[in-house]
Each structure stands twice: as structure tokens, then as C-alpha cells.
């Protein structure tokens, strides 16, 4: 096929990029080579628009064994134990075919984790849909949840936490971010860097079909009226085969057969072989006629770009082929030597001994374009909403409206479709601030949570980025874990648009600021651009997945009120910031104004104090205050527990609504036994933490003195009906 301008465009390459390719090759590429460049140079694989900004992320720390740059991030949790984790997006395929898009998203992220030697022990997800009224939302919600459950349950890894949000910004472009966490031995971690010349390059797993050809290019293209035509590129996941693949790989990893290993994800055989070779500064030669194919007459082009799932590429030590082959035979998986490492520094593709394409590795990897795209700062909108001008509403009615809304309703309808208990180490299931997984056969446990705040990020990206790291950090503290590190999935619109690029740049700056201050480094992540349709971009949505450690795990801490007659302490100062609150959004549909300020000093101080209180066993339950403000957090502590609360009205009579619905940061609610009050106050005073004694726990009622009194059974009902009614 002749390479015309149209062909180049169809491959997602700009004219100047094509010119650059010709320069690097010193000639015109053939179609196969063009396809390979298009896969490696698109946004999803090359990070060309984001690399410049990501370089500034805070990625170091004593607890970091491996930061960004590998298949997943690795942290040290002591005793030769390591946790390997990452989050990734699968937004565009999930919009087109929600079940398979979500399922293959789970499959892909699992491979990223077990390819490094970790047995996956938990799955999390952050899913965002358009407004519930939008015609596609219901079927997308059903499809995505079924897909996540269908894959995770079948492979036998518990899906333990997540978040689900609805916002019209995602009407034409949903977000599906999947996170996997695995456990490995520190001295048995596998990397993707190829080493040694003339080593066997082995293909294992499912056969190659025509799935997803140009999926990586699709991820970098916006949706338009022709999106429906992009359908054939959706891959079908096979969780059963992935389970076999996972067991086979983990079995092979028990000895020293593997030099390096990488899963075949976006751009399949192309990206895995190029990345392994690039990291090892070697060349790689592949004999494509050896690639196991599912369909007849597959061309080299199709083989290199196929995104068939459940496949890995392994570089094997000499003399280990026989024993490795036996393991894969036991698990009924293909195992084929398809090539070797060379010292040429080129990617050489042969078919029946005839060279089909030859490209210098660094042209595809290190010399891939890096753009310094123009970006504009977001001006802070200091406009304050005049509360008095708004239509009056009763406190109780506002609370009920929020608790019964799509975004605040109990998510049991979703989480009951996920097996949370398989592997028997889930100590705290979804529903609390963070979930807890015990490390198998050990006394320690990890806490995990995934969070985002798109509205804050839209109104002020810098503050939004700063805030969401803090919120995630707070969630881990609330269950008694020491936050260790994060993975981030940065979902943004079109980076060629300066204000979107600015949102990205500023969110990253904000994330970095909090991450540095809190010693909470980023160890892995993913960038998803071009989330938007017909020139409308989504709100910037950085998603933060955090992991913390509970070194001596002997009981769980959650947010549910445990008994009557206990004291409720509010840690952190309440200023009553209502702009960008759930209250303004749900009750008045107001989206103007700036997000609440983030004070990192208070954030760190308050959190460390709460952790100290938890570790000293001085508290019954803990809940952090976030979206919805104080009153929603207090109500959540009662819903699902057998007890209620009685809260005193604030002494300094500020606007009642500001006090109860304001979303000031760095705040926690503690349920303390009267007998521990002195000890707790001593710790807080010693650390200069602002706190207030705001009430007591009681039976039956959620009460705010002289303002409202609701039966907790009624609160439960209000909060548990949205999904069933939908």
C-alpha cells in the first residue's frame, strides 16, 4: 500500500511527525513500520504531551523500591515484603462496549502487576458516568459494573474498594480507571529491562487475533459522530485464560528462569518488545511466522498491532526453555520462542526469514516526540456566592436531598456484584474510608483507597490537585494506616487545547506539592488524554489510588458509630467554605466559585495526631470529612450502624449551612469513650491541633440540637434507595 497523506492521518500521525520519522529512518517507512511508529508515538504509549510535566512529580522516598517507569510501582512494607500497584484507564473502549471495555481494563492492570512478580491481592476502580438522566448512562453503568465483576470475580481477586461518580461532564465520555495491588517478595521482583545478547524472546498466553488493532490510536482520538464506526477495535477479555496465565507466570517466577518480562497491553507485541529492548539498550529480532495466531492469514502488520489480551513476552535465561515450556503446557497456554535479543539496537521484523521492517529502537522510544505544549494558568475565581440571595431550604431537606442523590447514595448495589472476600484476607470491605487487606500469613495489613475531585480541579486545578492527594491520604489515616505511596490516573481532555494543557500542568503541580509535603510519593500511574467529544472536554479528573501500611494489624477501624454515650470530637477548624460544595451543587446547581483552601501543615499535623490516637487504641470510630461537609459525614457514621448522634449547634453562630455543609479540609470526626477524653485531648493539645467537642452518640436518632431529629432507620432508607430505583 502506498503511504499517502491520508494513510498517515489515519494512523494518527501529524505531518511533522511523519517528516521526523523519515528523518530518523533516513528513508520512507513501509506500511508495517508506519503502523509501529503510529502505535509507539501516540499519546497513550509515548506520553508525548505529558512527559515534560510528569518529570516533576515527587517520586522518591525511603519506602520506594521502584518509581514510575516500570510496569507498576513497588514499595517496601518491611520483612522482605513489597507491594506492587498501579492504576490505569480504559475510558474509550468502555464507552464503546462497556462490559468488555471495563473487563479488559481490569485484565490489563492485573497483568501490569503480576508481570513484576506480585500475586494480585486487591482490585479497585474509579468509574465516572454522565448524568443519570443521560440516555446512555444506565446501560453504561450496568455494563461497566458487570464487566468489572465478571473479570475480577472469575480470576478470583477481590474487588475491595472504589468510587462511582455521576456528572454531566462525562455524558459523552465516561471514565473507567482500574487499579490493582499485589504482594511480592522484595528479593523476587521482575523488571522489563532486557539483558544479554542472543537470549530467547518467548511469547506466552493466548493466541493473537485481530482484536483492537489501532486501539492505542483510538485512545488518543476524540470521539465524534463517527465513533460508532470505531467499534471493531474492542477487545474481548478472557479472565479464565488470564487466571491460567497468572498462575503459570507466578510458577515460572519461583526460580531464576526469567531475565525480563512484560505484558502485552496497548500496542501489544510492538510496545512490549520495543520497551524491553529500549530499557536494555539492545536490539530485538522477531520471527513473526512463529507468532501463534487465532485467525487465518494474519499479516505482520496485524500481528504487531494486535491488542489481543492475556499475552506476555518473556526474555528467558539460557537453558531454561524446557522447564519453562513444561509449566506453560501444564496450564494449557501457548509458549513459543519468537525471537532473540541482538546487539544491533534495532527492531528487526522477519517473516519466513524475509525482513519486513527494521527500525532503530531509540527512534520508537527515547526519540519519540516530547511536546512542550502551550498552556494557560487558570485564574482563580474569587467570586463568593451570596448565600442570602438563594432560595430558603430547611437543613433537614438539604441533608435528605444530598444523601439520596446519585453521588452520595450507598453503593451496595454495585459492590454486592463484586466478590470482596475471595482469598480470605479482606479484613475491611468497601463502604468505609479505606479497605483493608491482610498480608497473607502475616501480622500486617495494607489499606487502600481511590479518590478524585473533578469539580475542585475544574474550578482551580492547582488546588484540586493538592486537595485530592490530601483526601486520599486522610482516608488511609482514618482506618489507622500509615500512608506510603500513590498511583495516579490523570484523565484530561484535549492537550492541544491550552486551557486543558494548563489544567494538566497545574493539577500535576498541586499533586506534587501535597505529595512532597506528606512524604506520599507517586510510584506509578497513567495519563489519559483526549477525553472529550465534539470539542467539549471533560472536567480535569486526576484519580489518586493510595496504599498505606498497618504494621501490627489486630483490629479494624471504620466510620460506624459503635455505642451510645460516647463523645464526638471534630478535629480541624471549620470556616464554612461552601463554594464547590455538594450542597451548592445538589441543591442549587451552582458550579461557580473556588474550592476550599488546602493547608498542608494542618493536613499533616491533624492526620498524624489522628493516627497516634488510633494506634494508642483511644478511639472507637473515625471518619474524615469530605464531599458533603460535616453533616453528611456525621450522617454516614450513623447509616448502617445501630446508633445515632446528638450534635450541639456551633456556639459562634455562623450561618448554619456554612458550618454543616462547608467542605473545609483537614478535618476528621472521632468517636471517643468518655474515659479516654483526657488522653485524647492531651495528644491534640500537644500537637497544636484545633478540635471541638461537638456532641455525643445516642440510640435511634440523628439529631442536631433544635434543628433536626431523624430516625437512623429512616436515614438508612433514604441513603439506600437510589440504585434500586434507578
Amino acid at each position: 500500500m502506498k503511504i499517502t497523506e491520508q494513510v498517515v492521518e489515519k494512523h494518527g500521525l501529524k505531518p511533522d511527525e511523519y517528516a521526523n520519522i523519515k528523518k530518523l529512518l533516513n528513508r520512507d517507512p513501509n506500511l508495517l513500520e508506519l503502523g509501529i511508529f503510529s502505535a509507539m508515538w501516540n499519546e497513550h504509549c509515548s506520553y508525548k504531551s505529558s512527559r515534560k510535566h510528569l518529570k516533576n512529580l515527587h517520586t522518591k522516598g525511603k519506602q520506594v523500591i521502584q518509581g514510575p517507569g516500570e510496569n507498576a510501582g513497588v514499595i517496601d512494607i518491611g520483612d522482605n515484603d513489597a507491594i506492587i500497584f498501579k492504576i490505569e484507564s480504559h475510558n474509550h473502549p468502555s464507552y464503546i462496549e462497556p462490559y468488555q471495555g471495563a473487563a479488559t481494563g481490569v485484565g490489563g492492570i492485573l497483568r501490569d502487576v503480576f508481570t513484576m512478580g506480585a500475586r494480585p491481592i486487591a482490585l479497585l476502580n474509579s468509574i465516572h458516568f454522565g448524568s443519570p438522566e443521560h440516555k446512555k448512562t444506565k446501560s453504561l453503568l450496568n455494563g461497566v459494573v458487570s464487566g468489572i465483576g465478571g473479570y475480577g470475580n472469575c480470576i478470583g481477586i477481590p474487588t475491595v474498594a472504589g468510587e462511582t461518580k455521576f456528572n454531566s461532564t462525562y455524558n459523552e465520555n465516561i471514565l473507567v480507571n482500574a487499579m490493582a495491588v499485589g504482594h511480592a517478595k522484595k528479593d523476587k521482583i521482575f523488571y522489563s529491562k532486557a539483558k544479554g545478547i542472543n537470549k530467547s524472546v518467548v511469547y506466552v498466553g493466548s493466541k493473537t487475533g485481530r482484536d483492537g488493532i489501532h486501539g492505542a490510536s483510538m485512545a488518543s482520538a476524540e470521539f465524534d459522530e463517527n465513533s460508532e464506526e470505531k467499534k471493531p477495535t474492542v477487545q474481548v477479555g478472557d479472565p479464565f485464560t488470564e487466571k491460567l496465565l497468572m498462575e503459570a507466570c507466578l510458577e515460572l517466577m519461583k526460580d531464576n528462569s526469567i531475565i525480563s518480562i512484560q505484558d502485552m497491553g496497548a500496542a501489544g507485541l510492538t510496545s512490549s518488545s520495543v520497551e524491553m529492548a529500549s530499557k536494555g539498550e539492545l536490539g530485538i529480532e522477531l520471527n513473526l511466522d512463529k507468532v501463534p495466531c487465532r485467525e487465518d492469514n494474519m499479516t505482520p502488520y496485524e500481528m504487531m498491532l494486535s491488542e489481543s489480551q492475556e499475552r506476555m513476552l518473556i526474555i528467558l535465561e539460557d537453558g531454561k526453555e524446557k522447564s519453562a515450556r513444561e509449566i506453560f503446557k501444564k496450564w494449557d497456554l501457548d509458549f513459543v520462542v519468537i525471537g532473540k535479543t541482538t546487539k544491533s539496537n534495532n527492531l528487526v521484523l522477519k517473516y519466513n526469514n524475509v525482513t519486513q521492517g527494521e527500525i532503530p529502537i531509540n527512534a520508537l522510544a527515547s526519540k519519540a516526540p516530547v511536546y512542550n505544549r502551550k498552556w494557560t494558568k487558570k485564574k482563580i475565581n474569587k467570586e463568593k456566592i451570596d448565600f442570602k440571595s438563594l432560595k430558603r431550604i430547611k437543613l433537614e431537606d438539604a441533608l435528605i436531598k444530598i444523601l439520596s442523590s446519585a453521588n452520595h447514595s450507598n453503593k451496595k448495589w454495585i459492590t454486592n456484584q463484586y466478590d470482596q472476600m475471595v482469598m480470605c484476607d479482606t479484613a475491611q470491605k468497601s463502604g468505609s474510608d479505606a479497605s483493608i487487606i491482610r498480608i497473607h500469613n502475616k501480622e500486617k495489613a495494607i489499606a487502600v483507597s481511590v479518590d478524585s475531585s473533578a469539580n475542585y480541579c475544574k474550578s482551580h486545578p492547582l488546588t484540586g490537585g493538592k486537595q485530592i492527594v490530601c483526601e486520599n491520604w486522610r482516608n488511609l489515616i482514618s482506618v489507622g494506616a500509615e500512608p506510603l505511596a500513590i498511583t495516579n490516573c490523570l484523565n484530561f481532555g484535549n492537550p492541544e487545547n491550552p486551557s486543558v494543557m494548563g489544567e494538566f500542568a497545574e493539577c500535576v503541580i498541586g499533586i506534587t506539592e501535597s505529595s512532597k509535603f506528606l512524604n506520599y510519593p507517586v510510584v506509578s500511574g497513567n495519563v489519559s488524554f483526549y477525553n472529550g467529544t465534539n470539542k467539549k472536554n471533560i472536567s480535569p479528573t486526576p484519580v489518586i489510588g493510595g496504599v498505606g501500611l498497618i504494621s501490627k494489624f489486630n483490629k479494624t477501624i471504620n466510620h460506624l458509630i459503635k455505642n451510645e454515650g460516647n463523645i464526638i470530637i471534630l478535629i480541624g477548624k471549620t470556616f464554612g467554605h461552601l463554594e464547590q460544595s455538594a450542597f451548592y451543587e445538589e441543591i442549587y446547581s451552582i458550579s461557580e466559585g473556588q474550592p476550599p483552601e488546602v493547608n498542608l501543615v494542618n493536613e499533616k499535623n491533624n492526620g498524624n495526631s489522628v493516627l497516634e490516637i488510633i494506634k494508642k487504641d483511644l478511639v472507637y470510630s473515625v471518619h474524615d470529612v469530605s464531599n458533603g461537609g460535616l453533616i453528611v459525614a456525621l450522617a454516614e457514621m450513623c447509616i448502617g450502624s445501630n446508633y445515632g448522634l446528638k450534635i450541639t449547634k456551633p456556639r459562634k453562630l455562623t450561618n448554619l449551612f456554612s458550618y454543616f455543609f462547608g467542605e473545609d479540609q483537614s478535618r476528621y470526626i472521632l468517636e471517643i469513650d468518655k474515659k479516654n477524653l483526657d488522653k485524647v485531648e492531651k495528644i491534640l493539645k500537644n500537637n497544636n491541633v484545633f478540635y471541638e467537642n461537638i456532641g455525643v452518640t445516642q440510640k435511634d436518632y440523628f439529631e442536631i440540637q433544635s434543628e433536626l431529629k431523624i430516625d437512623i432507620k429512616k436515614l438508612y432508607k433514604i441513603n439506600n434507595q437510589w440504585y434500586n430505583n434507578y
Binding site: 465483576g149 470475580n153 479464565f240 475471595v422 479484613a427
Partner: protein, 225 residues
């Protein structure tokens, strides 16, 4: 007591049941489905999971594996056989237990802790429980809706072969407490000789108070009794 846990491609709960068995002092061995001989066992467990991905029908393909012939032989010789969740599905596909597990009534996968009533405590599996004792045990399945014909149902009732029924926290066996549409809220049954128990709930998930509760323990101590 000696136990064997059969492992099929796709079995997920094999490690979980092995941990529970070892905790309860069984001498346990894992047996790969391609084996043609079973080690001498007092108890054989067919674990939960998604053997063969649940493709075609849950348990259908595992039911045709080589090792199953040995399990059938052992069952006929009186060996104790325990099938949990997918294991229960496999036992029905082999005919060792009558009946069939259909798709959950609401067509969704369901994972939650449910109340179970011990309907029959006169067996090697349930003698440490009190009759009508209420347990809280975790279920996690897509096809847990037990169905059988009128004759078998009569046999189950007449011969006291229903091991567990879904119930509410007061022990009432009603529609609301039935998570998947099973006929008569049946959660587990015995064969006529009572040496085989098939149950959808996961007792191996209820042996550790730090994770859940201890309601599953007595099933294993009954076997040791």
C-alpha cells in the same frame, strides 16, 4: 484426618479451603485435575471458583475431567465429599448430587453475608451445630439458584437431606431472605447416603474473627468428630 482438595484450571478458592483445613488440623494435599489417582483421603473437597471460567455451564467442563472419575469412585466407597459453590455445581454436573444450580433469579452476581439455618445437624458435616442454629456465612455466586424436580424435592424433605436453608436473622425461611431464588431457600444438600455435601455458601471464609466470623468452624470440627 486426611483431606484432598481438587484443583481445576480456574479454581479460585482452593488456597482458601486449604488454609481452613490446615487450621482445623486436617492433613491436606492439593490434587491437580490431570492426576489419575487420588491420595488416600477421608475427605475430598471440590472448591469454589470459576473452573474453566464457568464456560458452557458452571461446572460442566470440570465434571468431565479425569480426576472426577476417582472422586466418583471414592464417593461410592463412602468417602466424605464436600463441594463448595463451584464445587457444588461440579457435583451436580457429575450426578453425585441430584438437582441443578441455575442463574440467580435477579441475573446478577451476588456477594454478601447471608443468614443460614442448619436444617439438618444429623450428619458427619453438621453434627457440631445445633438444629435450626442460625449462621452468618458469605455467598459469592452467579449461578446459585438450586432447582430440582418434584421427586427429588420430596426425597430431600422426607429423608432429611437438606443441610442448610437461607433465612432471615430470626430464622424465618422466607422469600426476602432468599438471595438467589433457590427452591425452598435451599443452600446446601446431602446425597441419600449423607457422605456428600454440596453447598453454595463458603464456610472456609468464616473461620477467622479478624476477617469475618467463626461460624464456619463447626463444619470442619464436625468432620473431625
Amino acid at each position: 484426618m486426611k483431606s484432598s482438595v481438587i484443583v481445576f484450571p480456574g479454581s479460585n478458592c482452593d488456597r482458601d479451603i486449604a488454609v481452613a483445613l490446615e487450621k482445623m488440623q486436617f492433613k491436606n494435599q492439593m490434587v491437580w485435575h490431570k492426576e489419575t489417582k487420588l491420595p488416600k483421603s477421608d475427605l475430598i473437597v471440590v472448591p469454589g471458583g470459576f473452573s474453566y471460567g464457568d464456560y458452557l455451564r458452571s461446572g460442566a467442563i470440570a465434571g468431565k475431567s479425569l480426576i472426577i472419575n476417582e472422586v466418583i469412585k471414592a464417593a461410592n466407597e463412602g468417602c466424605l465429599i464436600l463441594g463448595i459453590c463451584n464445587g457444588f455445581q461440579i457435583l451436580t454436573e457429575t450426578g453425585l448430587l441430584k438437582g441443578v444450580l441455575l442463574r440467580n433469579k435477579n441475573l446478577r452476581f451476588i456477594n454478601k453475608d447471608v443468614n443460614l439455618k442448619v436444617s439438618c445437624n444429623n450428619s458427619k458435616f453438621t453434627n457440631k451445630y445445633k438444629k435450626d442454629q442460625i449462621l452468618k456465612i458469605n455467598i459469592a455466586h452467579n449461578e446459585g439458584n438450586f432447582f430440582t424436580n418434584k421427586d427429588h424435592l420430596k426425597e430431600l424433605n422426607d429423608e432429611d437431606l437438606i443441610a442448610f436453608k437461607y433465612c432471615n436473622e430470626n430464622g424465618e425461611v422466607d422469600t426476602e431472605s432468599n438471595p438467589n431464588g433457590s427452591i425452598e431457600n435451599i443452600a446446601g444438600i446431602f446425597n441419600s447416603k449423607k457422605n456428600i455435601l454440596g453447598m453454595m455458601p463458603h464456610p472456609e471464609r468464616m473461620i477467622d474473627e479478624l476477617i469475618s466470623n467463626k461460624d464456619g468452624i463447626n463444619l470442619f470440627s464436625s468432620l473431625q468428630n
